[in-house]
């Protein structure tokens, strides 16, 4: 599985609490893979393990065939792993465009001094990233507010901005942490359309979400967690009608 993103039997403990318990997950290019579970089931923890913000206690993470378990967040980002956050993590004092352009950082080859002297390569990279970022912004629908300061954006726009930044990274995989949080139905529609386009271009999307309807509409495969353990995984239909999932998550 050379070009997949994999978490293999990962475990994470916080003191006496087992937050993630021997969970395995596989994300393929060109698929939307949902990750669902009640509050406290370990979804965001798993996401943090995959992207590198927490170290695993057991198990391993692989990006595109490479074992990244010991690698930093930055190294994984450079390998093509992008993510958004449950509460948008933006640089609020910068403009929308600047925030999106940050996604171009992995492609910056110019060094510190090169930039200080405004060398041609630095200027060229700047222009390229600017173009890429503004295209992504227009693509997600933020073209009209590119020069606005990020802290003046409303919540939905901030979420879409994070997605634009992730896309500017030209990633192979995008991890979305509850991107529909606080969105209206219409906005969720648009989010779904964007996710569809991302998937069609060959990027693997991991979608952590609470809105089970949205997940089942948008995803090709789903993994369900409860109390840190995986209770079901497979095609959307299979998971949707899995008795354990129904019992734990959807009521009764």
């Amino acid at each position: 599985m050379i070009n997949h993103l994999e978490a293999r039997v990962v475990t994470k403990r916080f003191g006496g609490l087992i937050a993630v318990d021997n969970v395995s997950l596989e994300l393929r290019p060109g698929e939307v893979h949902g990750l669902i579970g009640p509050n406290g089931s370990g979804k965001t923890t798993l996401l943090n393990l995959i992207s590198g913000y927490y170290p695993v206690d057991d198990g391993s993470i692989h990006v595109g065939g490479e074992d990244v378990t010991r690698q930093s967040v930055q190294d994984r980002a450079r390998l093509g792993l992008a993510r958004t956050f449950q509460t948008p993590k933006l640089v609020l004092s910068l403009s929308v465009l600047d925030n999106a352009m940050l996604g171009g950082w992995p492609d910056v080859g110019s060094g510190f001094l090169e930039t200080a002297f405004a060398a041609p390569r630095a200027r060229r990279e700047e222009a390229n990233i600017r173009e890429r970022a503004s295209t992504m912004l227009q693509g997600v629908g933020l073209g009209t507010v590119m020069d606005r300061r990020a802290d003046l954006l409303e919540h939905t726009a901030q979420r879409f901005l994070e997605i634009a930044r992730a896309l500017t990274m030209r990633p192979k995989f995008v991890l979305l942490d509850e991107p529909a949080g606080g969105l209206t139905e219409a906005e969720i529609e648009r989010l779904g359309a964007i996710i569809g386009v991302i998937r069609d271009s060959g990027i693997g999307v991991l979608l952590v979400e609470h809105h089970t309807d949205f997940v089942f509409r948008t995803c090709d495969r789903v993994t369900a967690l409860n109390l840190g353990r995986m209770i079901a995984h497979g095609s959307t239909t299979a998971v949707r009608y899995d008795p354990e999932v129904i019992r734990v998550y959807l009521g009764a």
Binding site: F14, N48, Y53, Y54, F85
Partner: protein, 285 residues
């Protein structure tokens, strides 16, 4: 040699007390105040002024000293901390406490002058060499303060509230703890303790406007070495730094005090960032 050790321990007591004061303020506000050393400075100068300058009785000077600490503690919370904590930017309290500390120090320099002045004797005693009160006052008081604080945290309602706030201030507020008032109280307490340490250490340090910054730095080193949040650590860290300072002054002269002290700090922070008795902090995304 005994003199060297005793003076090292005395300094250690002073540094340890400052570390304890840091702890008290940190527990309720997660703020490390730049102005921590200024309580001792203000208390010391206040006493020296009242007792030696105005010839008032010592007990009055003592009370005034504590009162001055209380007032400045209360003011520093009100001015430099309360509004800042509400804002999201982490670094602002570093700046606000730095600003207030600078103002206090400079105001003292302008009013009192920049020459260190003598501090009154607390107990009538001829200079007694290694057994002189100027060494034993800070040392004994440091131990008493640490023990007293631990008892306070463990057995008094307010002390337990402080602990609750330091572990999870959000939850504390949700349970009805008046966090603003508690924080203010902790800063008043810190001010009183700081002034007390200035009173105890005054004969050692003299009433000196520059004491605040020096003590703030040394107290911080003691805190970092011992670990934030630990009273034992504060004493151990203070003791270590005090002994190191005293020994280096004895062997190398007073000029390298700060260099050696900072060296100790950097070394320890690289090897064990949480200090000897501190706990590692797990930062979550």
């Amino acid at each position: 040699m005994l003199l060297v050790i005793v003076s090292g321990l005395a300094l250690g007591g002073l540094y340890g007390m400052t570390a304890l004061v840091y702890n008290v303020m940190y527990s309720t506000s997660k703020v490390l105040s730049f102005g921590t050393g200024q309580f001792a400075m203000v208390g010391g100068i206040c006493t020296a002024w009242l007792v030696l300058g105005l010839h008032l009785p010592l007990w009055l000077g003592f009370l005034a000293c504590l009162a001055s600490g209380a007032v400045f503690g209360w003011l520093s919370e009100l001015i430099a901390v309360r509004r800042i904590i509400a804002a999201s930017d982490e670094h602002l309290w570093v700046l606000s406490t730095l600003a207030l500390s600078t103002m206090v120090q400079e105001a003292m320099a302008i009013w009192w002058g920049t020459d260190p002045t003598p501090f009154p004797r607390v107990f009538p005693q001829e200079f007694a060499g290694s057994f002189d009160q100027k060494f034993w006052l800070p040392l004994i008081l440091a131990v008493l303060m640490a023990v007293g604080l631990e008892q306070f945290y463990r057995h008094s309602m307010i002390g337990k509230l402080f602990i609750a706030m330091s572990e999870d201030s959000f939850a504390a507020r949700a349970r009805g703890v008046a966090t603003d008032r508690m924080r203010s109280l902790s800063y008043v307490l810190a001010g009183v303790l700081g002034a007390l340490s200035g009173f105890a250490g005054g004969q050692l340090t003299f009433a000196d406007f520059a004491l605040g910054t020096a003590l703030g730095l040394s107290g911080f080193i003691a805190l970092a070495v011992g670990g934030i949040g630990s009273s034992v650590g504060a004493l151990v860290g203070g003791g270590a730094l005090g002994m190191l300072t005293s020994l280096t002054t004895h062997y190398f002269g007073a000029e390298y005090q700060k260099t050696i002290a900072i060296g100790l700090l950097i070394l320890l922070l690289v090897v064990r960032p949480q200090g000897l008795f501190g706990t590692t902090q797990v930062r979550h995304v």
